[in-house]
Amino acid sequence: MELMAQQVAERVVALVLDAIDIDALLDRIDVEKLIDRVDVEKVVERVDVERIIERVDVQKIIQRVDINAIIGELDIDALVEQTELGAIIAHSTTGILSEVLDVIRAQGVGLDDFCFRWANRLVGRKVTDWPKGPPLLVEEEAPS
């Protein structure tokens, strides 16, 4: 009797499963709603990360990785371009050079003014109303 009941149940389940359209069923399920109902925080809490890490044999992984092949495939030039290394090298080199030039020029301008002022003071001339530069260039500069 019990065996017969078992056989009937199996047969019924098989018939029911055959009758169900799984795709149609899945279409009717609201996945978003289902995800909303899952408490991800609780799932994460139950995961023992430390235990997983302990089970990973890092040495074995490293031994299996062909580092030389990886380095060989690396495009160092592209890497340098992407990182700020190139910019840093270029910036510091040109920066130093232009800074040195700026300092030399600024010193020159200062000394020019000093000598011009004192030379004309020695001969007793006032230079305040003298033109600063050629008409075309001074006119160009005036609006700024």
Binding site: R105, G108, F116
Partner: protein, 168 residues
């Protein structure tokens, strides 16, 4: 730092420093060229070229080279290498671009200044447009082409860049 002097008349010290740099550069180039010529003739002809035994020829060669160095540089860009370093430029008296004729005249004017034992240069110190004899001969004047304002911005950007780099 002196700000915004681009286009203003350049003074005596900057111009003297630029001239000194040019003399050094042109002399170095001339010496290197003679040395190269000497090596080349020794390799291919078996004879050595030495200007020390031909002083008149050496003086003529130096004079031609210096004339070419200054007049060509001024004709092309209005500045020599030394002037570019010091941020100077030769322009017409009105401030326009100088011609090749003016460049050649200015080089000859420079020779005239030395022939007057340097008196021709005094105009740079005392004349209202800071023009020397060579400038009067060629109808030119010398201005600062160096943009001190841009230099200051460059300096500030460099400082900012360094700060950002240190912060990372």
């Amino acid at each position: 730092m002196t700000i915004g002097r681009q286009g203003n008349y350049a003074g005596a010290v900057s111009r003297l420093a630029a001239f000194a740099a040019d003399v050094g550069i042109s002399w170095g180039l001339f010496t290197a060229a003679v040395a190269l010529l000497s090596v080349a003739t020794q390799l291919f002809g078996g004879t050595t070229v030495s200007l020390t035994h031909h002083q008149i020829l050496a003086i003529i060669a130096v004079a031609i080279w210096e004339f070419l160095y200054f007049s060509y540089s001024w004709a092309v860009s209005g500045k020599t290498v030394g002037m570019a370093l010091l941020g100077l430029q030769v322009v017409t008296a009105e401030g326009g671009r100088m011609t090749a004729r003016q460049a050649a005249l200015r080089t000859l004017g420079l020779v005239l200044c030395f022939l007057t034992l340097g008196i021709g240069f005094l105009g740079i110190l005392f004349q209202r447009n800071r023009r020397g004899l060579q400038d009067f001969v060629a109808g030119t004047s010398v201005v600062y082409s160096w943009d001190a304002r841009a230099a200051r911005l460059r300096f500030m950007s460099h400082t900012e860049f360094s700060k950002q780099r240190d912060a990372k």
